[in-house]
């Protein structure tokens, strides 16, 4: 299988030699960051639940060919977005491991932050209400400083302890 792949690459290299843009066909490490960036975008449909970067080519025929195709495109000089576009045009959004950032799928990305933002604003108003309710005339009885707070907590726990001894 590997040999076939190399042969394929060689053929591609040969073809591109004569083209205007000279691109070197190079062997691409299936675990390299550049391959990861491309392959991680696509979900393997063999039922393994992984993407094409993780799916093991030794146990899954589907990914073997898919990976070879990806390498071919990378050698043509296509970047990950172009490759992504190519597959989405053929298979639709289903092939991707995460939803597109456009159309209805954009809601997947945006909604969590919209909700978080709205909740943050609501929280701000709630705290403001609670703080206002307190009014200004009251004397702040709380500790203004954590040092004092810690000390007083320790102090009261020690008093408590002593008290228990004599109860």
């Amino acid at each position: 299988m590997k040999n076939k792949l190399y042969l394929g690459l060689l053929v591609i290299a040969f073809i591109f030699q004569g083209s205007f843009i000279h691109v070197d066909a190079k062997q691409i490490d299936y675990k390299s960051p550049e391959f990861k960036a491309v392959a991680q975008q696509f979900a393997c449909t063999c039922g393994c639940g992984q993407d094409h970067y993780e799916c093991d080519p030794n146990t899954c025929n589907l990914t073997t060919e898919f990976k070879a195709d990806l390498v071919e495109m990378m050698n043509k000089g296509w970047d990950k977005d172009k490759i992504r576009e190519y597959y989405v045009n053929i298979y639709g959004e289903e092939i991707l491991t995460s939803p597109e950032k456009s159309g209805f799928s954009l809601t997947a990305w945006v909604l969590p932050f919209v909700v978080l933002g709205a909740a943050a604003i609501a929280l701000y108003f709630i705290i403001r209400k609670w703080v206002k309710k307190k009014g200004t005339e009251e004397i702040v009885t709380g500790y203004e400083n954590t040092d004092e707070e810690v000390e007083s907590e320790i102090f009261s726990s020690m008093i408590d302890e002593e008290r228990k001894k004599y109860l």
Partner: protein
């Protein structure tokens, strides 16, 4: 045996229904005798569940393949430990385990010394018993553990080899203890609402049980991650799979509750919010089970698809509706006691922000998990929402959470003044910034890593200062030695310092995650015998390829010698195992672990001429994850431990009602 085993289930169901009815009747007629009868039923139910467990253990251990469950999940050559643990390998068995834990918890609550004379007991019992009825119904009619086959197979189908790992023995057990554990705070909350009594005792008991459930949930997830790391040959530990998400969501909401309950304790506020968090956490455990067992989503955690999930969904629906009804009917009562805040900048406010982020993170996970269904329903396209999505969406939320965690201990209750802020934050902030600059200078330049580690430096310093100030204050009064002062300080305030230890554990885990996600290196290479693979400072010499037989399994292994900077580390054997009774082979990886990084070697493939393909990875800071996990366990145990000074759960001293 068949009759006996099935009898335990059906008699159990009858007892559960009886107990539920009799307790409810006892509550309405205020008749202690009826309540006591129901409590007796609880013991009987526990006995039934235990006998059912023992029966299934016995059948599994003795390989009685005429039983469908035994046949489906074991084979005769399986080591005895995995024969036994096959009990939770499938639907029916794992639900039996769940039921067993539920009855165990019930007994622990109803007969606890601390709960003696507490009028909440009958209510809690009834609510838990309703859960009991549901689970026994499921075991009796939907996922039956004891089904006889028409013919007696000579050999069982065997246990999925992936599950034959120590991690898998304990991962489901801890996870279920966590799941079931969240039913207890829920029962407490409902009982308190019905009795219109959300007092101090309630808070303490609920908090204690939530910490216990939380600890088990954490452990369940950690063991799951650890198992995935060593067993799946994938080099990762968390995949944002729907099933993982299902256990992460209640973990987040339970964490939120554990923090916000402190405001209720101090200021008598947020009662509705806290009870909602408990309801949501409980509902999420059922929702998770629905996701896992219904097959509506694709998951690597393959449970046989069945209509089981639907029952969970219905049960969850009923539970949530009833809970909301009770909550609404007590709304005015809870609302009346709303208190006030003194300032925007205070510990109280930071707890609210903490809640916002945790619940926000839980919502983001929820939304991502169900989005494929939403998308399919709205426009007919089933999209995949995988790892890249969750990493991108969750990273900023959880990192902000870390920041709040770093800042919170330094804020004062009530109000932090500018002077106070300056005093507390100048040193940690300056040190964190220096740390970040140093990182950039030393070559750590990825934005996430620099910001993440910067926040963690801040966190470590603020937490250190908390301990330091506590010890200093104590010494000022007692003149103890620093160690004694630290020890006494901590055991006298277990919850606070236990919590800080958990924070430090989370910081360690986060360091591990940031390191391993941002700076991992991988390569996949095919080499001939005698050749080597270079990755970073490592050289892996491929020396031998051979095979051996272990039982019915064939193992192909490679001998590789590993050098680091020219220094020999040893010879290791990554393996590929072909199972006698399982189609898919699995990889046994070689892991060379250090505090700095793990070298992870997978034997991927080989050819007749001896050439072999290896996947080699360097995963930085993996051990930090496991150390952090350990600290979480220590911290949580420290917080709930009932020591001499532990005033965690007082005995009930409230008004006595007629029934208890």
């Amino acid at each position: 045996m068949f009759l006996f085993a099935n009898a335990t289930i059906y008699i159990g169901l009858a007892i559960a229904i009886y107990s539920l009815l009799i307790i409810t009747f006892g509550i309405s007629t205020k008749n202690q005798k009826l309540i006591n009868s129901g409590k007796g039923g609880m013991i009987a139910l526990f006995v039934c569940a235990s006998l059912a467990m023992i029966s299934l253990f016995y059948l599994l251990a003795t390989s009685q393949f005429q039983y469908e469950y035994v046949n489906d999940y074991t084979s005769s050559e399986l080591p005895i430990i995995y024969k036994l643990t096959a009990l939770w390998a499938g639907n029916a068995g794992s639900l039996l385990l769940w039921t067993f834990f539920l009855t165990l918890y019930m007994i622990m609550i109803a007969f606890s010394r601390k709960m003696k004379g507490n009028p909440m007991v009958p209510y809690i019992s009834a609510i838990l018993m309703a859960n009991g009825v549901f689970f026994f119904f499921i075991l009796g009619f939907v996922a039956k553990p004891f089904i006889l086959l028409d013919t007696v197979p000579l050999e069982g189908k065997g246990l999925n080899p992936m599950l034959q790992n120590p991690g898998m023995i304990i991962h489901p057990v801890t996870l279920y203890l966590g799941y079931v554990g969240l039913a207890i705070p829920f029962a407490f909350a409902m009982a308190a609402l019905i009795l219109k009594n959300v007092d101090d005792f309630w808070i303490k008991m609920t908090r204690r049980w939530t910490i216990i459930a939380w600890l088990f949930l954490s452990l369940g997830n950690i063991f799951g991650g650890q198992w995935a790391y060593v067993e799946l040959g994938w080099g990762g530990y968390w995949a944002w799979d729907p099933v993982e998400n299902a256990s992460f969501m209640p973990w987040l909401t339970a964490t939120a509750f554990l923090h916000s309950v402190m405001i209720q304790e101090r200021k008598n506020m947020l009662k509705i919010w806290n009870i909602s968090l408990i309801i949501v956490s409980y509902a999420l455990t059922l929702f998770g089970t629905f996701l896992v067992r219904s097959g509506v989503l694709t998951s690597v955690h393959a449970f046989a698809n069945s209509n089981l999930g639907l029952y969970f969904l219905i049960f969850m629906g009923i539970a949530v509706i009833l809970a909301l009804y009770v909550l609404m009917s007590r709304y005015n009562l809870l609302k009346r006691s709303a208190g006030q805040f003194n300032s925007f900048v205070s510990k109280e406010s930071s707890f609210l922000v903490n809640n916002l982020l945790l619940v926000g993170a839980a919502f983001a996970v929820f939304w991502g998990t169900i989005f494929p269904l939403v998308s399919e329903a709205v426009r007919g396209t089933k999209v995949t929402v995988g790892l890249p999505f969750f990493n991108k969406v969750e990273a900023p939320i959880l990192l902000s959470m870390m920041f709040v965690m770093a800042v919170c201990p330094m804020l004062a209750w009530q109000r932090s003044t500018v002077k106070n802020l300056r005093k507390n934050f100048t040193i940690p902030a300056v040190l964190a910034v220096i740390g970040m600059v140093l990182m950039v200078v030393l070559g750590i330049q990825k934005a996430w890593a620099v910001i993440g580690y910067g926040v963690i430096i801040l966190l470590l310093i603020t937490h250190f200062l908390e301990f330091y100030r506590g010890v200093k204050a104590r010494r000022k009064m007692t003149k103890e030695t620093p160690i004694v002062a630290l020890y006494r300080l901590m055991i006298r305030n277990r919850r606070r310092y236990g919590g800080y230890i958990v924070h430090l554990g989370i910081a360690f885990i986060t360091m591990g995650i940031i390191g391993s996600q941002n700076y991992d290196l991988q390569t996949m290479k095919t080499v001939s015998l005698g050749q080597s693979i270079d990755l970073q400072d490592y050289r892996i010499n491929y020396e031998r390829l051979d095979q051996k037989k272990e039982g019915i399994n064939d193992i192909v292994y490679a001998d590789v010698t590993v050098f680091r900077n020219g220094k020999k580390l040893g010879t290791y054997q990554p393996e590929k195992v072909f199972y006698g009774n399982w189609e898919q082979p699995s990889s046994e990886v070689a892991i060379i672990s250090s505090l700095k990084e793990d070298l992870y070697i997978v034997l991927s493939a080989w050819e007749d001429d001896g050439k072999a393909t290896f996947v080699v990875k360097v995963n930085p800071m993996m051990n930090w994850l496991w150390i952090g996990s350990f600290m979480i366990v220590i911290g949580a145990l420290f917080a709930v431990w009932n020591g001499k000074y532990g005033n965690v759960t007082p005995r009930y001293t409230g008004v006595r009602k007629e029934v208890s």
